[in-house]
Point group: C2
Chain length 377, copies 2
Amino acid sequence: MSVKVKLNRNPIQVYSDKFMKPVYFTPGPSELFYTVPDHLKKGLREHIFSINHRSSRFREIVAETKSNLTELFQLPDGYRMAFVSSASEVWERIVLNLVEENAGFIVNGYFSERFANIAEQWGRNTERYDVNHGTCADIDKIQFSDGVEVIGITHNETSTGATHPLDEIYKLRDKYPDSLIAVDIVSSAPVYDIDFDKIDTAYFSVQKGFGLPAGLGVWIYNQRCLDKTLEMEKRGVMTGSYHKLSRLTEQIDHDQTASTPNMMGIYLLGKVAGDMLEKGIDMIRRESRYKAALTYEAFEKNPHMDTFVKEQNYRSQTTMVASLEKSKEWIAQLEGKGIIVGNGYGLYKELQIRIANFPTHSKEQFERLSDELLKLD
Amino acid sequence: MSVKVKLNRNPIQVYSDKFMKPVYFTPGPSELFYTVPDHLKKGLREHIFSINHRSSRFREIVAETKSNLTELFQLPDGYRMAFVSSASEVWERIVLNLVEENAGFIVNGYFSERFANIAEQWGRNTERYDVNHGTCADIDKIQFSDGVEVIGITHNETSTGATHPLDEIYKLRDKYPDSLIAVDIVSSAPVYDIDFDKIDTAYFSVQKGFGLPAGLGVWIYNQRCLDKTLEMEKRGVMTGSYHKLSRLTEQIDHDQTASTPNMMGIYLLGKVAGDMLEKGIDMIRRESRYKAALTYEAFEKNPHMDTFVKEQNYRSQTTMVASLEKSKEWIAQLEGKGIIVGNGYGLYKELQIRIANFPTHSKEQFERLSDELLKLD
């Protein structure tokens, strides 16, 4: 992404650190979406968290969440969603339900690698296309075998801050028309405008872009996925038990879940998606671009830090990662000012900072963050 | 249980239905534990739901929850607990991690049956010992084959209100010393005083006796379980991926979880377990006996209803079930008075009511409930 967004800043900023609440810029769990506390309190007053998960009242909540997410994501007809416990669970369920033998994985960080590992642990033939951390794959160069049933790609690698351009992801469908294209949108949803018609399944967990307490995963999938799992089941392939895709589908088609779910999470997700619709997803996306541009500008202006992702086209709007000289010390220094940023992931733990830019974060919060980043030396 | 508990009631009861908040006596999700709203609000104020799940602060929360539950359950040395998403997940994980080929299941209701079904779906050889709904198994009469690796039994069948006496459950260990004894304590924990030394693994979900929002399951297991799964893994048996028992163990031994968990649930569970310890688990148990006795007395005194479980020794203290003449009408009538009870389960949906008696429910609430049950005609 380009940093040439017009930076129309308030020239005078007065901060009172002493009375300032901390702001979590960590890449998930992160700052709660700003309406969450009120929805939680309203839910308590209305006894939402005591109602039966088979009651008509809860089915209405599930229906509202489905409807708001469908609108927010502009899901095409035939795309469904299931509520499970985490994105990790979705990895396992995709392997069990959609991969009988062969899968291909594009690996450019720790999270994309984990999906491949789960497929291996379940004994699937796994082909990996590895590229360096902090970069993305050139889809034209990938050579998966014919017959890979699923191709897994991570839209935004939360561990490195590298984002596959959507047009690259869409190429997979043309190149591998018989494979199901599975896209990890854990830390990119709902900020990017994804054309779901060009992918088959996607999944996220709610503690990132939606700003909810952790403990809920959403699995979006199309009819091709469902046909595939039903065909596998017909031939007696083991696809799982209480959360197999066919059972999840039967239940969600009746606004129900296959086991007692994180009902509070489903309730809050529907409410927050509704709030985002009301604010306007276009405005959320515009603001995201502005906040990201501010941050990358700070990374470039401060001589002691360096954007980890070199290619501008691969730079994440939702997880900005910088390598810096004194990561641990500076993270503590920012924390003292109520600015909580993430450390690097894995090998980069003490070498980098990661900054989440989610819809809950305001432009003003990012202006302050940017000022503080510039002061670090 | 006997109904000869001394019923020392307040003789004068004045109710103002109009201003009375509804009380959920549903068998889970149920009334929230009475301290939950305050813990939630405190958690929000302290940003607990934004912190990183790998941070030392969250590890302290996990440690507190483990410690409080260990004390509440009086867990012997060598027993661990893992935090997963539901009791349904534990069923699947037990099958994958502890059963290579053969398992035996004592089936006396819908929930005990579901565990057996999950083992079958995963292709295990499944032996069932079925007894009628509303009764329990006589362990002396069970004939499982030698070599059943796990025996599943449900302490309290939430679908019928039948509770296996603990001394019967303990007989399994003597009769099948080589099998792992897996006990479903979903709706009986922490009300019954279980001797964990006499079982190998047990599990519950938090929306029952602990009065929490749904979306968290707790899996307690001993060293024999861990040895078994490690031995299976050594021989290359597939035990799962991100939530396999060996990985859950590695993580929980460091007060960590194997994936981003329902952190709010873990936090609230630790707090509520602490509140129960402060109140005193003995007092909670005494009150439970009193509240159950009141309810069974009402079932017996009202000529239009009948306790479903005939044998007193099998009657649940935590889920009291009555067959009655006009179930649907009476459930609505009670609801009009702010008393929310559960309908029957499965085939009994329109024939029975189910009343949960969990630690959050007060004696006064049960006195009122009992009065209202007596008025139904």
